[in-house]
Amino acid sequence: MDGSETVRKIIHIDMDAFYASVEQRDNPDLRGKPVAVGGSRQRGVVAAASYEARQFGVRSAMSSQLALRKCPDLIFVKPRFDTYKAVSLQIRGIFAQYTDLIEPLSLDEAYLDVTSNFKNLPSATRIAEEIRAAVREQTGLTASAGVSYNKFLAKLASDYRKPDGLYVIKPSQGPAFVEKLEVGQFHGIGRVTAEKMNRMGIFTGLDLRGQSEEDLRRHFGKAGSFYYHIARAVDNRPVTPDRIRKSIGSENTFDHDLTEPAELAEALQPLIESVWRIGGRYQVIGRTVTLKVKYADFEQITRSRTAFSPVTQAEVFERISHDLLTALLPVPKGVRLLGVTLSNLEPIDESPGHQLVLPF
């Protein structure tokens, strides 16, 4: 760390098996049993798994069928997002008593910068303990917390003693902590990148630190610099409240693989409508439309088009999406999943009650 700057105090709070825990809290019959939130249908996916289910190897994002094979007694519960959202708000209310530098990553996860905090508490660890206690008391759920001097380490720390744990990585321990990690455990290094690193002989944080920034940039582009720094436990990304949405997407895995152009077009339509509706809710318009196609053999491709100016009309958005699909026809193999994403977003100031202005 640069000695001239004050060392930041970042907390990463992560609710334990959030959706599944909410379900177990609200339905005593589910307690102590393997529970998966998600669809049990033929091609459903596990959105969250209780710790009991995790013992059988059930993980989130796993196909429901595989999950059932791993844990035949698995109980599937339909997600209740409104409830999760309400609990999430409750938790954010607790965070807000300490700082307004809160960066939610999802309903169940957030970074807090408590370097200076409303209660003038000198210890971030104490704050993390208070928050965990308040969450338990007010929601009946458990949260894990990681405390450190940057976001990267705080997130690693919250994972370290999960569930219902707290772990602190002090500035003196940061580099050593990273050293031992396998690259696949780094947040921001996915499976594919990890494999590529392994092929290059990079297995641990220590190996990663041995690489020059130039080499990493050459192999991994812009992300290379990020890897170079996190290998040294350096991460200067600030905690940014109200993270702006970067894209809006909607995708669907179909009950059976689709091949017919008419079927595909029909399947695309609800995704287009859903994205447009979400855009309306967030009052944003975008310039880039991306179509994602996953084939039956799990090969995945994306095609995108960026308009000269933001797409303001539903028909234009619809047309671009269908054009992207048409360009891929006829499909070489069955299509398992279609997704539409709108990105390069900007706000539309057309919220209710807003007086529109002339375009000059």
Partner: protein
Amino acid sequence: MKFIVSSSVLLKQLSAINGVVATNPIVPILENFLFKVDSDREGGPILTATASDLQTTMITNIAVESSESGSIAIPARLLLDTLRGLPEQPITFHVDTETFGTQILTDNGRYKLSGENPIDFPKIPSVNRSLAVELSSDSLLSAINNTVFATSTDDLRPAMTGVYLQLTSANATFVATDGHRLIRYRRLDINSPSDSTMIVPRKALTLLKASLPEGVPVKAEFSQSNASFTFGNTQMICRLIDERFPDYENAIPVNNPNVMTIGRTDILNSLKRIMIYANRTTHQIRLSLESNSLTISAEDLDYSNEAKEKLLCDYDGDNMEIGFNAKFLTEMLGNLSCKMLSFELSAPNRAGLIIPADKEENEEILMLVMPVMLNTYA
């Protein structure tokens, strides 16, 4: 210096130019009228009274009896208050050009005012190498009345704080906008020897409106930086706004397939009633259009007030709902004098046009107003 003048004529003429005098001017001398007497003028002695705020200057000429020429700056407020209280009579001004002390003698009184050195009064700009246009005060008044209310008060957009004037050999177009609405008012009976455009400040036009009599000829002159309007014994000179006016023509939507024609007073009166129930800050009302019926409604969710009226109209277009600020609409409709008017619309988030259906001779009016978004997302 000494001169004699009718109290009521003086009051009338000074009142016509008094609007320029600011209550708290940048330079204190501007709290005065500049009086200048020319006793040697052909056609008899004359008093030239000038008021200015540096941007705008108004000058008026009044016939007096005098054998001496000279100048004095005289406190505007004090003098006008005095004149307002006097019955009609000839009054005599005695000015000591050394001390600038001034005495007004009436039938049975004597009033002493301390004037100021006329040298300190700012020089009046002259409108040189100008373009001259003759027009009637009625056309000018009508143009001002139809546009000036829609100018902006936002000093960050100085171009929009005035009325844009486009002169051609065929007509004169007056345009005003505050960014939410726009008025394009065209006079076919005003034409110019050469094409020219300028932005006349709102204050100058408001003053003109207050002092311009009906049915008199007006001579308008424009130079690069100033405009002058002369009518009767009075002249107004103002500095033009040296800014680029927004490209307004491109903001006027061309394709508006949904057209409603309705009686102006019908919709105006309905709007005034419904508006009472609208949110006090947004003044948002909703127009719901279906075949030959218009429903105007408003609700203020904070107080759970709501109102709704259904009017007959002639409507050709898709069923649609569009929100507007009722204050804008009533102001715009109230400024029109036509019996019937048309609303031309395309979409709830696109500008609406208001166009009189029965046209007055020599004028063309187009009003544009931006909608307020309703709480439905299309």
